[in-house]
């Protein structure tokens, strides 16, 4: 398999996940697709180097988050909080849930939003997120705690809806104490 073929296979595998991560970060499928494609273009530029390190996946995630944060800093992405989401095909899922979740995510600063998406959606550990964002694990923890405190009141009702695993609340925070007695 040539290097280019390897990349095509890699891109086909990771692009759905990259797009979904990007969507949770920016809240718009079209911008998410832009972000994912920009990320893949950057990964392709470094493909020969990173494919040897068996770290292409982590590299792509890091590139995506950095691209998103850089975009936010440059204010190229004009995200507008609105009751109606941008045009898109018919919904398979309940649209109001997505609207509420995205609205809640939009209240977070960009880095806090990235912490939430990486930790609770991409299932990365505190240390992995810290390494990816270039900050201390303590900082990731405190950002997570703040973000969760902010999201709980906003998402409490949807999480408590039928079919949900549980209601966010104090008892959820308490779970992190197991192990400390």
């Amino acid at each position: 398999m040539t290097s280019a073929e390897e990349f095509i296979e890699f891109a086909a595998t990771v692009s759905p996940r990259l797009r979904r991560t990007a969507f949770l970060l920016c809240g718009d499928w079209h911008i998410a697709e832009d972000l994912a494609q920009t990320t893949l273009a950057k990964v392709f530029g470094s493909w020969r180097r990173i494919s040897r390190q068996d770290a292409a996946d982590a590299y792509a995630t890091r590139t995506l988050v950095n691209t998103y944060l850089a975009d936010r800093r440059r204010k190229r992405v004009a995200e507008v909080l609105t009751d109606t989401l941008p045009e898109r095909p018919a919904e398979a899922q309940a649209p109001e849930l997505r609207m509420v979740v995205l609205g809640a995510l939009a209240t977070l600063p960009p880095r806090a939003r990235a912490v939430v998406v990486l930790r609770y959606w991409a299932d990365m550990s505190v240390e992995q997120v810290a390494a990816l964002l270039g900050c201390s694990p303590g900082n990731v923890k405190s950002q997570s705690a703040r973000a969760l405190d902010k999201l709980r009141p906003l998402l409490g009702d949807v999480a408590a809806a039928p079919g949900s695993p549980g209601r966010p609340g104090i008892q959820q925070s308490e779970t992190r104490r197991t192990g400390h007695g």
Binding site: L24, R88, G138, E174
Partner: protein, 440 residues
């Protein structure tokens, strides 16, 4: 630290994406066009919105641009909601006024000491000044990215806005922003919590893992203060300054042990940290100090305790037990009572750490002389609104006679008479209430 409810919500929100475009380049071009279109639409809508607000301001203030109504402003409670409105409530009648539009997704607000202007920081990187005499919003003031807490100097001349891109000073006389203060690590994800010395000369800003002092005279940052053990890498979450201005208390989460917090006393004369004080409190985001500066109360949130800390000896006292999980605290102006807002989990707690048997929400008075709790005042749920510094889930009138607390899951504000500790009729507010302040 699993949060399965959040993971599932994110999973559901990210599902059902549209199909990938047939040719990547074409869809990228389409994306750029779409974004340009949206940006233009947004810009036009924004300009139209500003015009409406300007027209409204002109209509009220007259051509001179000065407020039409001055003199005594009736005491008002302002309630900031997540939907971008501020609801004024006249304390004389406890009736809500017309909601005031205050920018998109606002999170923080602050009053000038004379109560004439309310500043509201919005998610659209602006701060909206509201003239309390007329309850009309002024022209939004452009500040740095992701504005956080707002703090007005004791002389009322400058409003400092913390944010992702540094701290932006706003001249309150002209409502114009000055050059943002950056450098020394200011800005970034952590720059949200601030405190100012009573003489107004030094502003302390939490940024990342440090506290940065800066002179308000020159707006230049000083040497960052490392507040606790670097190995544990705690991030400061709340800071409070003694009324005499001598000591800054910084609450940090212990990076290695989420169950505990650390309070670092910092001498404001030398800006050097003292011996860290461990407290069993996490997240201990709420602190309050008695007006005499003798006692610092730390809410051990998600527990049923409040920890009193003697500032003379910097030792924590015996935790004061309240009936349910505490989340915010304030001390009356006469210093005699500390009121603690708390809330019971609505579902059975998974943890055996405490069993909550009380009502959904309550406010417990604590005698500061004896540090003993009184009979809790029952209110409907406050919904754990205290998040970080700058959010106020309840406020006490300057005469200490009434507490206004966000209740009814953010849909109402309940007045409580402190003389009898009895709740009054809840007042409806627009949207979902987040923070509350009261004019002098």
């Amino acid at each position: 630290m699993d949060e399965p409810w959040l993971s599932e919500l994110l999973e559901r929100a990210a599902a059902g994406e549209p199909p990938i475009g047939p040719v990547a380049r074409n869809s990228l071009r389409a994306g750029i066009r779409r974004r340009r279109r949206r940006r233009m639409q947004g810009g036009a809508a924004c300009a139209a919105g500003v015009a409406v607000i300007c027209a409204a301001v002109l209509a009220v203030t007259g051509a001179s641009g000065t407020p039409a109504a001055t003199g005594t402003i009736p005491q008002t409670v302002y309630v900031l909601s997540a939907n971008g409105t501020v609801t004024p409530i006249a304390t004389a009648t406890n009736t809500p006024g017309e909601p005031i539009a205050a920018g998109r997704a606002p999170q923080f607000m602050a009053l000038t000491p004379n109560g004439q202007t309310l500043y509201v920081a919005g998610g659209d990187d602006t701060v909206t000044p509201i003239a309390t005499a007329t309850n009309t919003p002024g022209k939004p003031i452009k500040v740095g990215q992701d504005p956080g807490q707002i703090l007005v100097t004791p002389d009322g001349q400058t409003a400092y806005v913390a944010g992702y891109s540094g701290v932006t000073p706003i001249s309150t006389a002209t409502n114009t922003p000055e050059k943002p203060i950056t450098g020394a690590g200011l800005g970034g994800e952590g720059a949200q919590v601030m405190a100012i010395t009573p003489d107004g000369k030094t502003l302390y800003v939490v940024s990342g893992d440090t506290v940065i002092p800066f002179s308000t005279a020159t707006n230049t940052p000083g040497k960052p203060i490392k507040v606790a053990d670097q190995v544990n890498s705690p991030s400061p979450d709340e800071i409070i300054i003694t009324p005499d201005g001598s000591t800054l208390y910084v609450f940090s989460v212990n990076g290695n042990d989420n169950d505990n917090g650390i309070i670092t006393p910092v001498s404001t004369a030398t800006n050097t940290p003292g011996q860290p004080i461990p407290v069993v409190a996490y997240p201990g985001f709420a602190m309050a100090m008695t007006p005499d500066g003798n006692t610092l109360y730390v809410v051990a949130r998600n527990r049923q305790d409040v920890v009193p800390l003697s500032t003379a000896t910097n030792t924590p006292g015996k935790p004061i037990n309240v009936a349910s999980a505490a989340y915010d605290i304030a001390v009356t102006p006469d210093g005699q009572t500390a009121y603690v807002a708390s809330e019971c989990p609505t579902l059975p707690s998974r943890s055996l750490r405490f069993s909550c048997t009380g009502p959904p929400g309550e406010v417990t008075p604590i005698s500061t002389a004896t540090n003993t709790p009184g009979t809790p005042v029952k209110v409907s749920s406050g919904n754990l609104l205290k998040v970080i510094g700058g959010f106020y889930s309840f406020a006490i009138t300057p005469d200490g006679k009434t507490i206004y607390i966000i209740s009814g899951n953010g849909s109402t504000v309940t007045p409580i008479t402190t003389a009898t500790n009895t709740p009054g009729q809840p007042v409806n507010v627009a949207g979902k209430a987040q923070s509350i302040v009261i004019t002098p």
